[in-house]
């Protein structure tokens, strides 16, 4: 199953795209696994995903800890801690 991955704020700027379609590698279970798999892509990905403490994530528009299993979620998002208000 292909998933949509969305990127926001400096994560989007660092990797240069706001959205992509990805089939998850078989060894990826959680958001943290996926983020770590992106490091091997190098370039902006390596920078954006090198420090997981600076990243937050969402599955199907609900914010969840990066240790959460992706499961059947169709929309995945990575972004920095939020700064609204």
């Amino acid at each position: 199953m292909e998933r949509t991955i969305l990127y926001f704020a400096w994560v989007r700027e660092q990797i240069g795209i706001s959205e992509e379609r990805v089939t998850l590698p078989s060894d990826v279970q959680t958001l943290a696994d996926l983020a770590q798999s992106f490091v091997s892509r190098g370039g902006g990905y390596a920078i954006a995903f090198s420090d997981l403490t600076k990243l937050r994530g969402a599955l199907d528009m609900a914010m969840v800890p990066l240790a959460t299993a992706i499961g059947e979620a169709r929309e995945i998002a990575f972004f920095p801690p939020v700064t609204g208000g």
Binding site: F8, A9, A62, A77, G84
Partner: protein, 147 residues
């Protein structure tokens, strides 16, 4: 009655307060956030996650209505380009008594800061620019509402 809006246009607190007052309750409380011009800030841009933003704000509004038995709540957050002095966020609550109105208003602005997917990008008069970093104090403020 809950009203949630994410929009680029300005809002008028007076109009929003009058609408809350028209619900005929005992008390109305509100918070209006204004863009500060600290450090020579000339422009603030608000990015967000369309769809999730509305969902997160609706969830907060529903939670506040249930927890404080509110008659009405209004949440407005602007996105796009803003300048110092511009209103950026409005939280308004209406309830039978002051404690419910005041506490729920504080809950909503505290939790909005940690739960809703907005990101601020600053530009300064001297040419510097960058993303605003999240503050630990905001996480602490949001945590105090955890039952």
């Amino acid at each position: 009655m809950s009203r949630v809006r994410v929009r680029t246009e300005p809002f008028d607190e007076g109009t929003e307060l009058a609408a809350l007052r028209a619900t005929g309750v005992g008390g109305v409380a509100s918070f209006t956030g204004i863009v500060r011009g600290d450090g020579g800030l000339v422009a603030l841009r608000l990015d967000h996650y369309p769809g999730m933003t509305e969902r997160a704000l609706e969830h907060l509004a529903t939670t506040a209505v249930a927890r404080w038995n509110l008659s009405a709540v209004t949440l407005i957050h602007r996105v796009g380009l803003l300048a110092p002095g511009d209103p950026i966020v409005f939280v308004g609550t209406a309830a039978a008594h002051r404690a419910a109105a005041l506490e729920s208003c504080a809950f909503l602005i505290d939790r909005l800061k940690t739960d809703a997917p907005f990101w601020k990008h600053e530009r300064f008069a001297d040419g510097r620019s960058g993303w605003v970093e999240a503050r630990l104090s905001d996480e602490d403020a949001a945590m105090r509402w955890t039952p």
